[in-house]
């Protein structure tokens, strides 16, 4: 089955990668990749790297880079929910580590912005090794959405 939408989807993915990764130095330093996207949803991937290991005895990635992956993906899911360009900022992010990450494997984060109000966006996310029914981490975050007319603090 040929899908004429596929080249377009790849092009959009490339542009999103430019926006979420290319334009954000720390996401670029972690080499984050866009896995998938749709309205209100974003999935990013953190490739495994030896220099991101938190415990050299186990070879497991440090929680810090998983926090960065989840924060970046959740923020991106909020942007995927906006109808106009807006600046956003993380208010809080809670991460539950439900099972240990495995060494040598990339981590994928799927985030869903399930509610957005005038000023606040609510996001749920999971991080996994490719099988989203057995996540490594489960997260929820809230973001403030700045309105055009406002300057400075929310």
């Amino acid at each position: 089955m040929s899908d004429s939408f596929l080249p377009q989807k790849d092009e959009i993915k490339r542009r999103l990668e430019g926006r979420y990764v290319g334009a954000v130095p720390h996401n670029r330093a972690l080499d984050l990749r866009v896995v998938d996207y749709r309205p209100e949803h974003l999935s990013l991937c953190l490739p495994y790297r030896d220099d991101l290991v938190g415990n050299p005895e186990t070879g497991v990635l440090h929680g810090g880079c998983i926090t960065s992956l989840i924060d970046a993906t959740c923020g991106g899911a909020v942007i995927m929910s906006l109808t106009a360009p807006r600046r956003i900022a993380t208010l809080d992010l809670r991460i539950d580590y439900v099972r240990p990450a495995l060494p040598g494997q990339e981590v994928i984060c799927d985030a869903h912005c399930y509610k957005i109000t005038r000023h606040v966006a609510f996001v749920r996310a999971i991080a996994h090794h490719g099988d989203d029914v057995s996540p490594i981490a489960s997260a929820s975050g809230t973001f403030v959405v700045f309105r055009e007319t406002e300057k400075g603090e929310s």
């Binding site: 954000v24 290991v53 938190g54 050299p56 440090h62 926090t67 992010l93």
Partner: protein, 146 residues
């Protein structure tokens, strides 16, 4: 394999974090270090361009602040702890209070409750003024094998 345990033993004996932070690849990558100041663990994340999240406003990435908070809590647990095992993060909640500028960030941790199996740790991160934290976190750590 034993590099980490040796580093923890050295830390307990000398109060010097050098071997420990050298043993952890991620803290080296992030420029996160720790030392004992006034009898307490002071975590530091040295500013580097690759920590930036908003290039236009030159603000640090939220994830990097989470990393400093979590690392500082773990450093303090390792310094105080009774076993040489690395504490496992059960969960962490990071609250972002203000944008963090392109400069060094410091952090201190407090044990809210240090049990035998689980520790509840509150961590604060700031830049110029400890009275104006940029982010705080509450985290639970498992101190025994699961």
């Amino acid at each position: 394999m034993t590099k980490m345990r040796d580093a923890v033993v050295e830390l307990r004996a000398t109060g010097d974090f050098t071997a420990l932070q050298e043993a952890i690849p991620y803290t080296r990558f992030m420029g996160i270090t720790a030392k004992i100041v006034d009898g307490d663990v002071l975590g530091t994340m040295r500013y580097s361009e690759h920590l930036v999240g908003n290039a236009l406003a030159q603000k640090l990435h939220g994830g990097t602040l989470g990393a400093l908070l979590e690392s500082t809590a773990i450093f303090k647990l390792l310094w105080h702890g009774e076993t040489n095992a690395v504490p496992k993060t059960i969960n962490i909640t990071v609250e972002y209070l203000r944008g963090a500028d392109s400069e060094d960030t410091l952090a201190r941790a407090e044990f809210t409750r240090h049990g035998r199996r689980v520790a509840n740790v509150r961590v604060f991160a700031w830049q110029r003024d400890p009275e104006r934290p940029v982010a705080v976190a509450t985290a639970h750590f498992l101190l025994v094998p699961d």
